[in-house]
């Protein structure tokens, strides 16, 4: 009887054994960041001033990660400039060059007539933190300092307008409990 119990116990436990199934999680791209607190790093701009995402807390920010060697980034730049002009005072446009020297980014900005600030991120801190899976990457940050949306790839002016619209919308009426 006792022996049978032991055998039954061993068989039962053996049946519970599950084969190894190692799982690994990785970064899921910028679209997975919606709702997360927006992380910020102090960087020098091409005009020599220090700027960061956190410096614009309380404002809606459109952050664009790009590089001069990236063809879609260059193609997107006129739309970004148009957006910055159209939304001046309502949305802060921060352009963050990934990995290049300040002189390279500054020369590009002069050549293209870019008026919005360009931050020089030689160590690609914003790029890796916002899980850029390519360039350009655009991140919309709300007034509360949280990511509203992360977008991979070049955008048109209309797509930029649509992307910031939720962040610019006035807060909805609060429910009143009786």
């Amino acid at each position: 009887m006792r022996r049978s119990l032991v055998i039954a116990l061993v068989v039962l436990l053996g049946g519970c054994y599950s084969a190894p199934d190692p799982k690994a999680a990785g970064s899921g791209g910028p679209s997975t960041l919606a709702g997360a607190p927006a992380q910020s790093f102090d960087l020098r701009r091409t005009d020599g001033r220090v700027d960061s995402l956190a410096a614009h807390r309380g404002q809606v920010v459109l952050m664009n990660l790009w590089a001069t060697w990236c063809p879609p980034c260059r193609e997107e730049m006129p739309a970004l400039e148009g957006f910055a002009r159209a939304y001046a005072g309502r949305v802060v446009v921060l352009s963050v060059d990934q990995g290049e020297a300040a002189s390279v980014a500054a020369a590009f900005a002069r050549e293209r007539g870019v008026t919005f600030p360009i931050l020089v991120d030689e160590n690609q801190q914003y790029g890796r933190t916002y899980q850029g899976v390519g360039l350009p990457t655009t991140v919309i940050v709300g007034r509360d300092g949280h990511v509203v949306r992360g977008i991979d790839g070049a955008m048109t002016l209309e797509q930029m307008r649509a992307a910031v619209a939720p962040a610019l919308a006035p807060p909805g009426p609060r429910a009143v409990s009786r």
Binding site: G14, A25, Q39, T68, E100, Q124, R128, G132
Partner: protein, 320 residues
């Protein structure tokens, strides 16, 4: 008497085996059938002893020792549950500065930013942020969380910096990785070279149309190198360069932190480690605490009887 000592020794060994899950969580032993079988045999021995005591085989001391047997059984069941029913050890891999959600724990892992110095030191930490409860910093020693044990699993890493021939900093990308814009290589793949399984990774400097493969050699690997390598006490990489159409452009040996020029690009690879977060099933703390407390109390109780009265008096057999 012999069965009593055997039960206590088996109980103590089994408790030690289960405690080892917390003390040395990196060992893959706990999810093996051999580990489960050992604990199952220990449990069977304890149950057999308890059955004998129930029949009156070991007198009053034996009955008091049932408390210790119960304690060991609680610990063993906790260990078996963690080893057999708990999930297998999982690794959460993140790049420096990123947040990776872990739905199973209702938390997100924040991988600390790391510059070249942090990679070289290998002291980056991971912080677990839960919806409820304080942030939990995970360091080199494991941290229990519910029925899981969290610990860091250091892995080879390299912080890559690149400049063109004029000294202008270049963007470093990882075209074949989800961490496209991270200059930290995680060496997730391996290549067999001779007798070595060498971790490797790839990166690119797109502005100059260069793609590099970096093969990571530990000091131990370097010590076995037939050719003279100046410094075999630190890790190094061998860099292969190609253009973005795959044409080979060169190969060079790059010691950690030293600048080398290859295919028109000055590259500095600072080598070290960056952790992945490992999540292992662990016996619940309450089971360990309760079980060990009962085990010790049971032994103490039976010993006190022996001390107070010398050899304990066995109950008289009663005829019917």
């Amino acid at each position: 008497m012999n069965s009593r000592i055997a039960a206590l020794v088996v109980g103590a060994i089994a408790i030690g085996l289960v405690l080892a899950q917390d003390l040395a969580p990196r060992t893959p032993l706990y999810h093996t059938w051999q580990y489960a079988l050992s604990l199952a045999i220990a449990l069977a021995v304890l149950l057999a002893y308890a059955n004998g005591v129930r029949r009156g085989d070991d007198g009053v001391v034996g009955k008091r020792l049932l408390v210790a047997v119960a304690g060991a059984a609680v610990v063993i069941c906790g260990g078996l549950a963690a080893g057999l029913l708990g999930p297998d050890t999982a690794s959460v891999v993140g790049t420096p500065g990123t947040v990776v959600p872990i739905p199973a724990l209702g938390a997100a892992a924040f991988f600390a930013p790391a510059d070249a110095a942090a990679v070289a030191r290998g002291d980056a930490i991971v912080t677990l942020r839960r919806r409820e409860g304080a942030a939990l910093e995970v360091g080199a020693r494991g941290r229990p969380l519910g029925e899981s044990l969290l610990y860091l699993d250091p892995r080879p890493a390299a912080y890559i910096e690149a400049w063109d021939e004029h000294g202008a900093h270049l963007t470093v990308t990882q075209p074949t990785s989800a961490s496209f814009l991270s200059p930290v290589l995680a060496f997730r793949q391996q290549q067999r070279i001779g007798e070595f399984d060498v971790p490797y990774d790839t990166f690119a400097t797109p502005s100059l149309h260069r793609v590099f493969r970096a093969l990571y050699f530990t000091p131990r690997d370097l010590a076995a190198f037939p050719r003279a390598v100046e410094d075999k006490t630190h890790p190094a990489v061998i860099l292969y360069a190609a253009d973005d159409r795959g044409a080979q452009l060169g190969i060079t040996f790059a010691p950690s932190g030293k600048d080398v020029t290859i295919a028109g690009v000055r590259v500095r690879a600072t080598l070290g480690t960056y952790p992945a977060l490992a999540i292992a099933a662990a016996p619940p703390a309450w089971a360990l605490v309760t079980g060990i407390a009962l085990f010790v109390a049971g032994i103490g109780w039976s010993a006190s009887r022996r001390t107070a009265r010398g050899t304990p008096r066995e109950p008289q057999a009663q005829g019917v």
